[in-house]
Amino acid sequence: MADLTPEKLFELTGETVAYTPPRRHFADLSLPERIESDAKARALLVSLLDDAQRADYTADGTFWVDLADGSRIQLGVLYRQVQELPTGPVARREMCVVPVQDLSTTPVADIWTNLLLVLQSNPEEFLSVANVWTEERRSAEDLARLDRAEAERHPERRLTERQLADKIRPLIAAGELGLASDLEAELARRLVRRGRYSMAVRCGVGAGALAVATDADAASPNAEPERRSTIALATSLAPWLGSEAGLLDRLINATHRRLEIGLPDVRRGEADRRVDEFHRRLGNIVALSAPRSRRRPPPG
């Protein structure tokens, strides 16, 4: 019995309960208790919001979450989330997504924290379970006008994959790293759509790495080593990803965040912190992918 540690006991029985939920639901608490719980839940939610989201939430209790595909979803109204899509035949959707729980269990702000985290990390999962109530479609004229405007805004989208690839290297050589990064990101998106994930990883992270290099002059003296190590990391990552589109999307989202660093008012410390964060996220993705290596081990 002397060897029966709590850890072994847990492994043997699986019965040890480390967390017991409070006995009473939020709705059953007294008013002062509800006020206290609600304040805690709101504080947690607000700590997870960015500045714009926080301002919106403080003003009217709702906030928008921007997705990588250019659409955005509004959270803050129970049973009614709104998605606005900037392109395509559907302009707006109203839907309902809730956590799998009795909604009276927690303060309502916890519901937004729950939806926010899942939506931000896995929008496909969020949208796949959503119960869509209404869809507002664009007229043919609006659709044509949007397509024209989109084509003017993103001339690279008219290029073929080969043309994109051919343009990137000369742009890098000419020091046009920002534009090269845009083209590489576009190439990565195309490759994702065609299911060429390993190549897309290289391009997606390459785009992010170029963005790091673009920031370098103003932001970080270590940009070139950062760029090299990021590309090396991405290359080592590719075989692990297989066809995990969700992981890849997250990776490409991370590269998009790299592009944000280029803002002129960003401070060097903040840029360095984000570079570290970017690498940490990549490390986490490697860790997430690792168990799958039994099916598909990386070469070497």
């Binding site: 699986g14 040890t16 480390a18 924290t113 985290l117 899942v118 896995n122 996220r281």
Partner: protein, 78 residues
Amino acid sequence: MPAIRILDSTGDTVIEWSTHDPHSVERARRTFCQLHDREGRIAFAVPPTGTAGDSVQIREFDPTSPDDVLFVRPLQGG
């Protein structure tokens, strides 16, 4: 000090751990196993000063990480 935060009727229950305190690490690890492996909740690592955009879904407990671990529930259509 990093912590596991579980959304519940109190707002959230916080279970902190420190690598200097093996008991706190063991409790956090068991909590993680209970909620993730047995109850099917979803775990996110959130950096101390990060927003939801910086969070990453995790499947294993890493006591050496400085990030908080926030447990939420799976979603369904309403």
